[in-house]
């Protein structure tokens, strides 16, 4: 057994740490309430982050590596939807209060399926081969960085110029008391993220395959010794993470006021995504959701005092502060 700093802590230190955590939580809530409009925006941003972060954490749970290509898988989802909206589906914008039209409702599931297939393909063609050769973690990380660059390169090759937009038309924001203004699209983004999160929760807790995913994440050797085909569990996990990344990519575009797509949009989100995963407790999907909300709100609220370009730095600062008090993240297991 290792003697960790935690086991050597005296009761006084533990009490002080609890007090500090409570103070930090109060500061966070007060700051969020003082800029309630920004905090609400943060929840919307958090919803998009959550879908990406949950995918990263699921893959980490069973593969024990952080997938650097996840951001670019999101980008791919956005561009698949763009292709469908512009070239395949009928033209329509302004569905109800939203800037987009009904074809987006078809494009989202198709994008999810496409990125799920991409993710499964990545595992079969690259990661499985590395596993069979017992490649070390650095090799696997570099491979995932390589895939990230390859996906982005593919997107740039086909869609780089001119600047692309989802078909959209302008819509009024909803005005609420306390200076809160909500873009209808943001409500859609949050609603869709919530539906997907609930679906994932039901999958993980109610289905045999979902429980096998959690079991494999807990202890892969024991899962195999229980007769679970862990290779199949890995493919399922990649598929689900990919589907969530596809949805996150599409939602990221309509989250943006101009509905603009950029080949780097997913990659640029990696820092807050990883921060959310770590803050929540690596490998825990519920933690990733919580972490994404915390990071999303912190990033948006910080713009009241800091330039928006500092948002990623804020995300990492929040992560460092959380780790100082809870080294395994908010919902991370103790040992």
């Amino acid at each position: 057994m290792f003697i960790t700093a935690r086991t050597m802590r005296s009761p006084a230190v533990v009490r002080a740490s609890r007090v500090a955590q409570a103070v930090l939580a109060i500061v966070f809530v007060v700051l969020a309430l003082s800029e309630i409009g920004l905090a609400v925006n943060g929840i919307f941003l958090g919803s998009v982050l959550a879908l990406g972060a949950v995918g990263i954490t699921l893959v980490f749970g069973v593969m024990r590596f952080a997938n650097i290509a996840h951001g670019d898988m999101m980008t791919m989802g956005a561009y698949v939807a763009f292709f469908l909206l512009v070239s395949v589906l009928p033209e329509h914008t302004g569905l109800g209060p939203f800037t987009f039209g009904f074809p987006l409702l078809i494009a989202i599931p198709v994008s999810m399926a496409a990125v799920a297939a991409l993710a499964v393909g990545m595992d079969v063609l690259v990661f499985r081969r590395l596993r069979l050769r017992r490649a070390n973690i650095v090799t696997i990380e570099i491979a995932s960085l390589g895939l990230a660059i390859a996906i982005r390169g593919f997107v740039q090759m086909i869609w780089d110029t001119p600047v692309r937009y989802f078909p959209n038309e302008g819509r009024q924001h909803f005005s609420l008391p306390a200076d809160i203004s909500i873009a209808p699209n943001h409500l859609f983004v949050s609603g869709a993220a919530l539906v997907l999160a609930i679906a994932l929760h039901l999958l993980l807790t109610r289905t045999k395959q979902g429980k096998a995913m959690r079991a494999t994440s807990d202890n892969a050797d024991l899962a195999r010794a229980s007769g679970i085909d862990t290779d199949r569990v890995l493919l399922w996990t990649w598929g689900i993470a990919g589907a969530l990344a596809g949805a996150a990519g599409v939602l990221l575009v309509i989250f943006n006021a101009t509905s603009q797509l950029k080949p780097t949009m997913g990659f640029q989100l990696l820092v807050p995504l990883f921060a959310a995963v770590v803050v929540g407790g690596i490998g825990n999907p519920y933690g990733a959701f919580l972490g994404a909300m915390l990071i999303g709100i912190s990033m948006e609220v910080s713009t009241a005092w800091a330039l928006p370009t500092y948002k990623p730095a804020i995300a990492f600062t929040v992560m460092v502060i959380v780790l100082l008090f809870r080294p395994r993240g908010i919902l991370g297991s103790k040992d």
């Binding site: 959690r214 807990d218 050797d221 024991l222 899962a223 195999r224 007769g227 679970i228 085909d229 862990t230």
Partner: protein, 235 residues
């Protein structure tokens, strides 16, 4: 015909060979104990049988079928289940979910078998919705054994089932092993409490340096002065 028949098994980790040609057999309905000093390859032998470690040479037959080339998840359905020494439960899953995972390969409704397990281990029934991480050492061991029994195996492999338990709980676990055996399940276990384990075993093996040094009935081995010198530390 023995239920499990291993001959000339060689296995190890990476380039390090731990087992240098081990012969071992378990007949139907037997309790067989493997004893030996630390590092003698007891756990590696268990893992080779169950397929978590692949044997590099030798033959392993189970119930008349060669299994040494099969993956672990293909060996389990044949009727052998394994309880590792540590990390033998899924900590973030509830007790019920752990049992469901134990019965992953069953196609029927699991409820009946889960109820039987709860009757066999009433402590677990009380905590059925608790996470396995919240169990005490003894309960965790019960949980691990119950998980392995979900598939109604013909052979149960137990790696140090009493490790870390109080003497009182040890007695309970050995009693449980006898009870399970009485239902017709053969048991192959690795155990540090050699004397107690051999006392309830039909046969035993002494493993040292990756080779079988002795093989005899349980009581004979327990009383053998050479075993005392080799393994039990008696002068």
């Amino acid at each position: 015909m023995p239920l499990l028949d291993a001959t000339g098994v060689r296995a190890g980790y990476g380039d390090t060979e731990i087992l240098h040609g081990v012969d071992m057999r378990v007949d139907a309905g037997e309790i067989v104990t493997i004893i030996g000093p630390n590092g003698s390859g007891k756990s590696t032998m268990m893992k080779s049988i169950v397929g978590i470690v692949q044997a590099s040479a030798g033959e392993i037959s189970f119930d008349g079928r060669r299994i040494e080339a099969l993956r672990a998840d293909r060996r389990i359905p044949l009727g052998l289940c394994y309880v590792p020494q540590t990390e033998n439960v899924f900590p973030t899953l509830t007790i019920t979910e752990n049992l469901e995972m134990g019965g992953f390969l069953r196609n029927d409704k699991l409820d009946g078998r889960i109820r039987e397990m709860f009757e066999l281990f009433p402590d677990l029934a009380e905590k059925r919705n608790a996470k396995a991480a919240a169990l005490s050492g003894g309960q965790r061991q019960m949980m691990a054994v119950a998980r392995a029994l979900m598939l109604e195996p013909k052979l149960l492999l137990l790696d140090e089932p009493t490790a870390g338990l109080s003497p009182l709980l040890m007695g309970t676990v050995f009693q449980m092993i006898q009870n399970i055996n009485a239902t017709g399940v053969a048991i192959l276990m690795v155990e540090h409490n050699a004397k107690k384990a051999l006392a309830i075993s039909h046969r035993g093996y002494v493993l040292a340096m990756g080779e079988v040094r002795m093989e005899n009935t349980g009581p004979e081995l327990a009383g053998d002065p050479q075993v005392g010198r080799l393994y039990l530390g008696n002068e």
